[in-house]
């Protein structure tokens, strides 16, 4: 299982020094990671080696159903993004992307909190350079803002990490294995502090209101392949951590904090969607829709019913696919028009029917149209929201209406209406671009009609969490 982390990491190093055809090498390593990922998913045993004995740190990796879904999402998205990025990114980006993949996979595999933390923080360095080296004119500022938010969150998480060490060494010998930490009997006050620290860190990552402000700036300035890796892979670590660590390790404190978290999630849902409607910059728009989606995911997690959690896990996968498609399509569009401003585009559906069609499909998937993937997960989350409290459900449902508005209105402004008279004719998607989008769109349809396998992968992970929480109540 260590191999799954080592392959992309080695790939990053090799890509960085390879003088000839580095992008091809990077792509090769991404494919190799995909293969290794698929193989380890079914065959590899868990890893558990002592790493730093005095601190109780183990190099421990394992993959449960939830981990498998996240690994699958990651290893699939990276090569797709690489193909999309080929024209306007140099080899530095490819090397960083592989490094990012390695650390992201490590967070999803980690069975030791210390390892999780190290990977959690280490993802930021590649992400920082990916934002800073390619993108809009203000990318350095955006990269700095991104990094400050994330590192701030990370340091707060460090507080929780140390708290666990103190509790664990008081109880005997220190150990950071998540399975050992789950056995600890942590006092109520300590548990609440640890929860608050972890939740802040994951809320910054995910992101949630009110620590979301880095998101739109980053997606606006970064290139779209970078945004895909950030929003669709990296941000998932936030919600992944909420489930794995908040619910898994401090369930009582999680139940204690649920009302506040639910309110924050609701604000994120509505506020993100309303802001998205008002955006003129297409990339900001997509970034803010994610704020709304992460609100829904968080709501599903903390409503803490079986449907809610399964829905949230599914949502993480589906949002990853749908938003990746949205970003990439937007990127193709922007590379043709040279601007991300919606108001400077109109009537493009005649010149670029394929582009318009894929945008509509991906957009409607984002908006939760039945038959496309996100619908199933959204319904499950909403059911759990109504279970939690009818008012919460009512507010959360507005997300669907608002999502329809921002997707369709953006479509209307960009693609319908009289065509622009342009000196430069706008060409439709070429074969490479279609090739990038086909797997994503197929996945959207497939997961929409056949969500069964995803649900059955998530079920066994969710059941014990829900049991613990309901026992606590």
């Amino acid at each position: 299982m260590t191999l799954l982390v080592l392959v992309p990491f080695a790939g990053a190093l090799i890509t960085a020094v390879m003088p000839a055809r580095p992008k091809l090498w990077a792509f090769g390593f991404a494919i190799a990671t995909l293969v290794v990922g698929l193989v380890t998913m079914f065959t590899a045993p868990d890893t558990d080696l002592v790493w730093m004995e005095p601190l109780g740190v183990h190099w421990a990796l394992e993959m449960d159903g939830f981990g498998k879904l996240m690994v699958l999402l990651t290893v699939a998205l990276v090569p797709i993004t690489m193909v999309a990025a080929v024209k306007d990114h140099d080899k530095r980006w490819y090397a960083w992307a592989l490094a990012l993949e390695a650390f992201a996979l490590l967070t999803f595999l980690a069975a030791d909190l210390f390892v999780f933390y190290i990977a959690f923080e280490a993802t930021l360095i590649p992400a920082y350079f990916m934002i800073g080296q390619h993108g809009g004119p203000h990318r350095a500022r955006a990269a700095l803002k991104f990094l400050m938010f994330q590192l701030g969150g990370g340091l707060v998480l460090l507080g929780a990490l140390i708290g666990f060490f103190v509790v664990s060494s008081d109880a005997g010998s220190p150990s950071y294995l998540i399975s050992d930490l789950a056995q600890l009997d942590i006092g109520t006050t300590a548990q609440r502090w640890i929860f608050v620290a972890m939740f802040i860190a994951f809320a910054v990552k995910a992101p949630l209101f009110p620590v979301h402000t880095w998101l739109a700036d980053t997606t606006e300035q970064a290139t779209t392949p970078t945004s895909v890796l950030l929003v669709c892979v990296l941000d998932k670590i936030g919600t992944f951590g909420m489930i794995r660590l908040c619910l898994g390790l401090v369930p009582e404190a999680s139940a204690w904090a649920t009302p506040v978290v639910v309110v924050l999630a609701l604000i994120s849902i509505v506020y993100g969607a309303v802001l998205a409607i008002g955006q003129d910059d297409l990339l900001r728009l997509i970034g803010l829709t994610s704020l709304s989606h992460f609100g829904l995911i968080t709501l599903g997690i903390f409503a803490a019913t079986r449907e809610g959690l399964v829905g949230a896990i599914l949502y993480m996968v589906n949002h990853g696919v749908a938003t990746a498609a949205m970003f990439l399509i937007a990127g193709f569009l922007i590379s043709r028009k040279g601007t991300a401003s919606i108001s400077s585009m109109r009537g493009l559906e005649k010149a670029t029917p394929v582009l318009a069609g894929t945008f509509l499909v991906a957009g409607l998937a984002t908006a939760g149209l039945p038959g496309l993937s996100q619908f199933v997960s959204e319904i499950m989350v909403l059911i759990s929201a109504f279970d939690y409290h009818w008012l919460v459900g009512v507010i959360a449902v507005t997300a669907i209406v608002l999502a329809a508005i921002y997707v369709l209105w953006a479509y209307q402004r960009i693609f319908t209406g009289p065509a622009q008279l342009s000196r430069r004719p706008v060409s439709d998607l070429d074969r490479r671009e279609v090739g990038v989008l086909v797997p994503l769109l197929v996945a959207l349809l497939l997961f929409g009609f056949v969500p069964g396998p995803l649900i059955s992968a998530a079920q066994p992970v969710v059941a014990p969490l829900v049991d613990v929480i309901q026992a606590g109540e």
Binding site: A119, A122, L144, V166, P174
Partner: protein, 514 residues
């Protein structure tokens, strides 16, 4: 009848060797011809340090560990010997940086003739003749000897003597910069005056503590304090002695010399001093507070806690507004003192406790600061080193390797995972939190966030900003400096990825003994 104290030469010879090499250096200065001095001094210093390091390792691995010698004046225990070894390691790097002559047209970073007034014809003559001060090596060796004694001092007098032996050469070395000499001399004077005051205060406190306990030995003081409880004499003594040590480590409110001295001193001196002094001072401080004042923890912990909070906040905030890289690193050193003091708040345990945390932090910080200042000495313009951060903009494009290495050191100081600084930070925070000092840890986390901002801003400047017309250039150094930088970077990364062996070594070394 007076009995002469028994001295265990078998465990003390590394210290004595360093001091002997220092004396030999003075003799060389007097008798060797000018042309031969540089090579003689450098090889003497290097050989002495390597032999002393080997000796220290042998002592650390030997059976004599845990004994005191010289009637308890010197204590050979695990943490003490570890910090001695650390001092020797960074001093080896220091000698290599001192000996760098390739950066500035074949002369070292030290003034040609320190006695020549700046701007006079005497100075020009000295420069033209290519004079240089090879006295810096014996001076440095005296300081190293003092630091090694400071790490293992078991009584108050030895503590004071060691403090003076290590301080006086530092004052001199600070004033010896070849370029911007007025700045350097001002820094030296400031350092000397404030240092002299703080030594006086330290001595006063020492006398009061002796008055309380009737003994110079730290272990005896600890016993008396445990039996009789504290008294006004002891409290006052603790306070005054703490002032002396806090001054050396650059803690607020005794920090004001730090940025000036870091900026004014020749960069090789800054590199070595920032690492070595901090190691020695914290080793002595740990021993003093745990062995002698261990029972008075309820009294000094809150006070040190307040100092730590102020030091972290002030150091980190002031570093943000600095425009000179050496001053910025100076204020960052202040902030690091605060983090180290946070670690001091913990307790000694058999497992991973305060001592281990602080010593690991010192290891991580020592290598990072040595390497960072070594790189600062490479970044130059027509008039010597370029301190102004504006002119560092775009360095990542013109010199990616140098900028990347500098980034590694900065990230380690910022405490990012997979660098040594992260484990160090984790350790000191864990030690303090384990002792229930959560308010200080909260402030420490807040200060870390502030500190990250200025470290990352430099990285942003180097990599994401377009180079200006007068962008600084990177001179090619000799092998010695390259090796120092490479090894420091390697240590920073290796200690971050596999800290296990060093951590185990520290745990095995145990705590300070009386």
């Amino acid at each position: 009848m007076f009995e002469s104290p028994g001295i265990s030469y078998a465990t003390l010879w590394p210290v004595l060797l360093v001091l002997a090499v220092a004396c030999a250096g003075v003799v060389v200065e007097a008798f060797a011809p000018r042309a031969a001095r540089f090579n003689t001094q450098v090889s003497l210093a290097l050989a002495g340090l390597v032999a002393a390091l080997a000796g220290t390792v042998a002592v650390g691995a030997g059976s004599a560990l845990g004994a005191s010698t010289g009637e308890g004046a010197l204590v050979i225990d695990g943490p003490g010997v570890f910090s001695q070894g650390l001092v020797l390691l960074v001093s080896l790097g220091g000698v290599a940086l001192f000996a760098e002559r390739r950066l500035d047209n074949g002369v070292s970073a030290f003034a040609g003739q320190a006695a020549a007034l700046p701007g006079t014809s005497a100075e020009r003559t000295a420069s033209q003749r290519g004079l240089e001060h090879t006295e810096v090596y014996p001076l440095m060796m005296f300081a190293v000897g003092g630091m090694m004694l400071f790490c293992i001092s078991g009584d108050l007098l030895m503590l004071f003597v060691a403090l003076e032996v290590l301080s006086l050469p530092l004052y001199l070395l600070t004033g010896l910069a070849r370029r911007r000499r007025l700045l350097s001399q001002e820094a030296a004077l400031k350092y000397f005056l404030l240092g002299a005051f703080s030594s006086g205060i330290f001595l006063y406190g020492l006398a009061l503590v002796y008055g309380f306990a009737g003994s110079m030995s730290l272990a005896d003081i600890g016993e008396v304090a445990a039996e009789e409880g504290s008294g006004p004499l002891l409290l006052l003594g603790i306070g005054l002695m703490a002032v002396g040590l806090l001054f050396k480590t650059g803690a607020v409110p005794f920090h004001s010399w730090t940025p000036d001295v870091y900026q004014g001193a020749p960069t090789p001196v800054t590199a070595w001093m920032s690492a070595a002094t901090k190691i020695a001072a914290f080793a002595a401080m740990l021993r003093l507070f745990y062995v002698a004042f261990g029972t008075e923890g309820d009294i000094w912990r809150p006070a040190i806690g307040v100092v730590a909070v102020l030091t972290m906040l002030l150091g980190a905030s002031f570093a943000i507004v600095q425009t000179d890289v050496k001053r910025m690193l100076g204020y960052s050193a202040v902030a690091h003192t605060g983090f180290l003091l946070t670690g001091l708040l913990g307790v000694q345990t058999d497992a991973f406790g305060s001592t281990q945390a602080v010593l690991f932090y010192l290891t991580a910080y020592g290598f990072a600061t040595l390497g960072a200042f070594a790189i600062v000495s490479l970044v130059r313009g027509p008039n010597g080193e370029v301190g102004s951060l504006d002119r560092w903009a775009g360095l990542g494009r013109t010199n990616p390797w140098v900028a990347a290495t500098f980034a590694v050191f900065l990230l380690s100081m910022a405490g990012l995972p997979l660098t040594a600084g992260f484990i160090g930070k984790w350790g000191v925070f864990a030690a303090a939190l384990g002792a229930g000092q959560w308010p200080v840890v909260v402030v420490a986390i807040g200060s870390s966030i502030i500190a990250i901002f200025f470290y990352v801003r430099v990285i942003m400047l180097m990599f994401f900003t377009d180079p200006r017309e007068d962008v600084a250039t990177v001179s090619t150094p000799s092998y010695a400096t390259t090796v120092v930088i490479a090894l420091s970077a390697l240590a920073t990364v290796v200690l971050g990825v596999i800290p296990g062996p060093v951590l185990s070594l520290l745990v095995d070394a145990g705590g300070f003994i009386g």
